[in-house]
Symmetry: C2
Subunit: 235 residues, 2 copies
């Protein structure tokens, strides 16, 4: 964690830190009274918090928040729902990379059971996103949408979502290279392990997606996400 | 796994698969007699293997290997030794991304205990590299070198290692962008969680490294590695 992300309301420029974040302050930072730590307020400014009261139950921080969070990526990411074990890490990764809009979608190769994962509740999702933002020092919480049916999502909702964006689908079986350093608003679809099936690629291409590849190697979703994002957008 | 990597000698174009790889064939691929699967021979060619004998102990594959593995990245990666839990995943990642030369190095922020990890034995390292190659469909096993002392490595060994290469160190506190789509032979150093300390950056810069950043967000090593590699080299 490189910043404490404060997720509740701030009152009189003060904030009480408890539980996981308090443990982190005490056990990892070895924080003491008077220390300053990097903090940010969810969907707000970043800066420092000075510990003005400290016991085993809570730390009270006096806040000085003046800095804007890093600019969001101009990206909507569509990701075939990963297996639960991978899901949590992937949510941290997308938050840490600066993605602000994520659709977890279905695909023929997504196992039905993945949709039953307890890690898909709003609280469980937010927990992982917060960890990603704390890692990367950012405050803007990504929106996460779940779409359990591929066809109605692609036919009914996606055409208006991609309007005005460059729409790409990562796909090994194409000659087209992934664009580099674009400033375009982009919609990017990444398939499951084993890839989207041809029917799904065809449906995406039919509404305007372009299939692009990432090189001769097949990457797992956890490597594909940072790889593509890092090629697409200037750092 | 997208390919079986055969790590022993091939005799008369046949190969016997056992243990983990046999289980994968049976449990995940539901392989049957006569099926063909993608295979590659370690440090050699790729192609298909047809199952000509199959029982619960082993599968015998008749091989047809004609395809070259993907070209190696022109990269030597220096990575501050990650914590053991992260190390295994990182080894898979570097193998999957096409890195062929890795130095795991010390840094002030690497905990001494990390060097005691049982995952640093040659066999344990190879096991993770093989998994990465099987994921990405590649056969060239990366070389992995361990360097437990930062200063002698940087002073005595690194100057000749970086000769003729573009030498970069990932560092958040710099204005310099990471190059994109280079064809240069490159040496890239990535620090530990929390980054290299200023003394270490200075030592690297003194022998010719250039500090480059990857954007306003701080990435964990597992995301930094694919992000930087993917920016540096054309896909």
């Amino acid at each position: 964690m490189n910043m404490l992300l404060l997720t509740s309301k701030i009152t009189d420029n003060a904030y009480n830190v408890r539980d996981r974040q308090l443990r982190h302050l005490l056990d990892v930072h070895k924080a003491e009274l008077g220390d300053s730590v990097k903090v940010g307020h969810i969907n707000g400014l970043m800066g420092t918090g000075t510990i003005v009261k400290l016991d085993n139950e809570q730390a009270t921080l006096m806040l000085d928040l003046t800095q804007n969070p890093p600019p969001p990526l101009p990206l909507t990411l569509l990701l075939a729902l990963p297996r639960p074990k991978m899901l949590r890490r992937t949510l941290q990764t997308i938050a840490a990379m600066g993605v602000k809009k994520l659709y977890l979608i279905n695909s023929s190769r997504v196992e039905k059971s993945f949709w039953q994962s307890p890690f898909l509740t709003p609280d469980a999702i937010e927990e992982q996103l917060v960890l990603g933002l704390e890692q990367s020092r950012d405050t803007l919480l990504p929106e996460v949408h779940l779409r359990k049916l591929f066809k109605p999502f692609v036919e009914d909702e996606l055409p208006s979502l991609i309007k005005g964006t460059s729409s790409l689908v990562a796909h090994p079986d194409t000659e087209e290279n992934c664009p580099v350093n674009t400033f375009d608003k982009t919609t990017l679809a990444i398939g499951p392990e084993g890839g989207f099936i041809p029917y799904e690629i065809d449906k995406l291409v039919a509404i305007g997606f372009k299939a692009v590849h990432l090189g001769p190697r097949i990457l797992r979703v956890e490597n594909a996400v940072p790889s593509i994002i890092s090629r697409l957008f200037p750092s």
